[in-house]
């Protein structure tokens, strides 16, 4: 085994440590091998004089577990196992929870669309009323030209009524639009914040 092979094998065994500890160990063994080569050994001899990779890894890992809080290590392992279990359950339960979530989502979405459709109806009504009022105003002039004063008066009254109701529905539409927009903003904000917290 040459120096590079030794250090690579050691790096693999130490992969559970943090990068600084790994680098420090590699530097130490690299220096030890170089010093022995400088002392007259060949590279292969120097590597075998330093000892086995297993022995080195066991000593380094053993020292690290002693330095670290002994309680923190089992906790870490438990946490890892727990999250692995949760992930497994999530994957296995996918057909169940996904359909439930999809159903809940579509119900909420349809309710939301229903609310908006009421507003859309109000707008449609407004447009209809105002267009009708405009037609009636046009009818006033037609009636006046053809000399039917009473008809013109009737059209005038009807046009006034329709415009009045039209303006009322327009105000209602604008009012509801504002309310729903505010509500949507609040709901989306809450969903967004919750998503961030998770």
């Amino acid at each position: 085994m040459n120096k590079g092979e030794f250090l690579n094998a050691l790096r693999v065994r130490l992969s559970s440590l943090n990068p600084n500890d790994i680098e420090s160990s590699i530097e130490y063994y690299s220096e030890m091998i170089d010093d022995r080569i400088e002392d007259g050994l060949t590279e292969i001899e120097a590597v075998s004089a330093v000892g086995s990779v297993d022995e080195a890894a066991v000593k380094i890992l053993g020292e690290n577990t002693q330095i670290n809080n002994t309680l923190s290590i089992p906790n870490k392992k438990e946490k890892k196992k727990y999250s692995a279990l949760v992930i497994a359950l999530l994957i296995l339960g996918f057909p169940l929870w996904f359909s439930l979530v999809a159903a809940a989502f579509s119900i909420v979405l349809s309710l939301y669309i229903v609310i908006w459709s009421v507003v859309i109806v109000l707008y449609a009504l407004t447009i209809f009323l105002i267009l009708s009022a405009l037609v009636l105003f046009a009818m006033i002039f037609l009636s006046l030209f053809s000399g039917k004063a009473l008809s013109a008066l009737l059209f005038f009254g009807a046009a006034l009524v329709l415009s009045g109701v039209g303006i009322l529905t327009l105000m209602l539409s604008v009012f509801f639009t504002g309310k729903i927009a505010k509500l949507s903003a609040v709901i989306f904000k809450k969903l967004f914040v919750r998503g961030n917290k998770q």
Binding site: Y28, E31, M32, R36, E38, V50, G51, K59, G62, I67
Partner: protein
């Protein structure tokens, strides 16, 4: 030898090897060899432990175009050696006590 006892003794040996002048890993092993054999893999955790306890300092210096780590003793490290000398008197009297009954039995 008892692992805990040996651990403590080796700590002091390593400190003693850098007491008079700074040294590096391979040199420490060679200096200790006539008295106690220490492998590279045994020395490394000791050096890490002593550094963490601030009994020695580490600095890298260039040697033959590569970096080599040199270890120097701190005042705390010197105190550790003095403490060991004092403890040794205690250990010797314990040794006398332990072997006293054997001598009486003979």
């Amino acid at each position: 030898m008892d692992i805990q006892l040996k651990r403590g003794l080796l700590d002091v040996c390593v400190l003693a090897s850098i007491k008079n002048e700074d040294s590096y890993g391979y040199q420490i092993i060679k200096d200790m060899k006539p008295y106690v054999e220490v492998s590279e893999s045994t020395l490394y955790p000791i050096l890490r432990r002593l550094e963490a306890a601030e009994l020695l300092n580490v600095k890298s210096a260039e040697h033959n175009g590569r970096l080599r780590k040199y270890y120097s003793i701190t005042p705390l490290g010197l105190k550790r050696i003095e403490d060991f000398k004092n403890e040794w008197n205690e250990i010797m009297s314990i040794y006398k006590f332990v072997t006293r009954e054997e001598k009486e039995g003979e």
